[in-house]
């Protein structure tokens, strides 16, 4: 297959599979990531996210299928791909025997940067991330948020075209998480960002497009809003009655534009085909003792739970 395959995309994946013995970590997985976008990959534990990232970052080979990273095949152009990508792994992987600056200098040398260039770049990035004052300290003396920022600086040092962020804010307090989000937002557009996260709010806040995977397969793809619209079937309203809930629930249940309905106490939750159906519902409820009608916003978490189930994964 030509290395020119979908060269306008930062990442192209076609029918990718990875098997560990009889276990399929990735199963006929296909995906396209546009250049310059922030792409989010969601999935429960064991969904195959880490395996996918390891293949994309050349740490692992697929069993079958095709992958292109910046138009290059990881099986044959590993070194070239690694010079184009930055990786923030789940573990901080900082060298605790080197100062923050020495950590960055080592990384720059591994990328073959010359001293003049990397010294300036380190100064700039440390300043930008608010770490300048602590650059000669060991990372162990840093807070969790500072360590994470240092790992991000390390991944950006060689000015990669594609940045992989594998759960970049796991374990951080809300302030540190916000700081990382702000920085990721600030560099958006200058490079492609491929993000995995367990925080659905994070994906919603940062990502242009989101993929949800489970059991090694892609099960949904789109923007946050598209996923909510497509997968939850339009709009959901909560209608709270003063009395005769059963009667009105029966009436609503018989309406063609009501896709789903749940009764809880005095409240009936109805999912409508579209918001235009609301007037039809209001007309049907003429004379009913309605205390309140409110729009229930679907969240990305609702979508995620609908698609991947509520069971706890090992």
């Amino acid at each position: 297959m030509s290395t020119q395959l979908h060269s306008s995309s930062a990442i192209t994946i076609r029918s990718l599979s990875k098997h560990y013995g009889g276990l399929a970590a990735l199963d006929d997985f296909s995906l396209e990531v546009e250049r310059g976008s922030i792409f989010g990959l969601l999935g429960p534990n064991g969904a195959g996210k880490t395996t996918l990232i390891r293949i994309l970052t050349t740490l692992m080979r697929q069993s079958s299928g095709e992958v292109r990273v910046e138009g290059l095949d990881p099986r044959t152009h590993g070194r070239e791909i690694r010079s184009l990508i930055g990786v923030v792994s789940q573990e901080n992987s900082l060298d605790r025997y080197l100062t923050a600056r020495e950590n960055l200098e080592l990384h720059a040398r591994l990328h073959g940067m010359d001293a003049g260039r990397y010294r300036r770049r380190i100064d700039d990035l440390m300043e930008l991330m608010g770490l300048s004052g602590r650059q000669h300290d060991l990372p162990e003396s840093y807070s969790g948020g500072m360590q994470r920022r240092l790992v991000i600086v390390r991944a950006l040092l060689h000015e990669p075209r594609l940045l992989f962020l594998d759960e970049p804010t796991t374990g951080l307090d809300p302030q540190s998480r916000r700081a990382v989000w702000e920085y990721i937002s600030s560099i958006a557009g200058s490079m492609t960002i491929f993000l995995t996260t367990h925080y659905l709010e994070e994906a919603e806040h940062l990502c242009d497009r989101i993929a949800i995977m489970d059991h090694g397969r892609l099960i949904a793809l789109g923007s946050s809003q598209e996923l909510k619209d497509k997968l939850t079937g339009g709009t959901v309203y909560q209608i709270e009655f003063n009395d005769q809930v059963g009667r009105y629930a029966g009436l609503l249940g018989g309406m063609a534009c009501v896709r789903e309905m749940q009764v809880s106490g005095q409240t009936v939750c109805v999912g409508l085909e579209s918001w235009e159906c609301l007037s039809e519902v209001v007309t049907a409820l003429n004379g009913a003792s309605v205390r309140r009608i409110s729009l229930k916003e679907r969240t990305l978490e609702d979508v995620f739970m609908d698609l991947t189930g509520k069971g706890v994964r090992e």
Binding site: T58, L59, R61, L94, R96, L106, H107, R109, L110, G112
Partner: protein, 252 residues
Amino acid sequence: MILRGSLAIWRRDMLVLRRSILSELVAVVAYPLTIYLAFGIGMKGYIGLVDGVPYALFIAPGLITMTAVNAAYNESVWSLWFHRRVQFTIESYRVTPISVSEIVIAKILSGFSHGLIKGLVVGLVIFAITPFRFPSENLVAYLAFLVPGSALFSCAGVICGTVMDKPETIGKVEAVFVMPLIFMSGLFFPLSSYPAAVIPWVRALPTTALFEGARQALVAGDLPYAFLGQVMVTALLVFIAAVWIFRWKLSE
């Protein structure tokens, strides 16, 4: 440049060694020096000459060599295990444009450097406290053994640090395999002390070639080529095995 990554990682390891050199050397010198004082000086009145040389002189080359190869082995095995399993720095090296071979060569070089530096320091201490002096050609011949010997044990350390995931296993291998190999290779006694049937087997060990060859080189100024060749060939084979095993393990 193909070894750019190796050089960068080796520089990192040497920077860390430089920072802790004093405490490292105190710990490294203490053990062989204690043995030397206890056996070489404490027992010399009882043992006298061995193979025609004073016992304190007989064991000195072996203790220096033991320090060097132990340091090389320990640096490689623990460094690799720590960077792979605890600090995950190997993972961070692997997403840069260097090859897996460059990483393993760096770790072998670092172990070798540790071994050489620590062995030479112990040598200087032993020479400082004893009246024995050697011609410079003896020292060069001795280095001809110390260099491949340190490389051999550094490669062995890389193999163990690569395949062993539990620290207690590393300790067990050292106690059951590495130390007996060193001690049974004529470090404290001549090979002639073994029963005749056992001697060919002991002589076939690369550690025997290393310790016997190193002693002959330092004490008598000989350069036993058979021993030297055996050490070098073994070092080369273990080097190839170390690179292959490391690559295989990381591709899992």
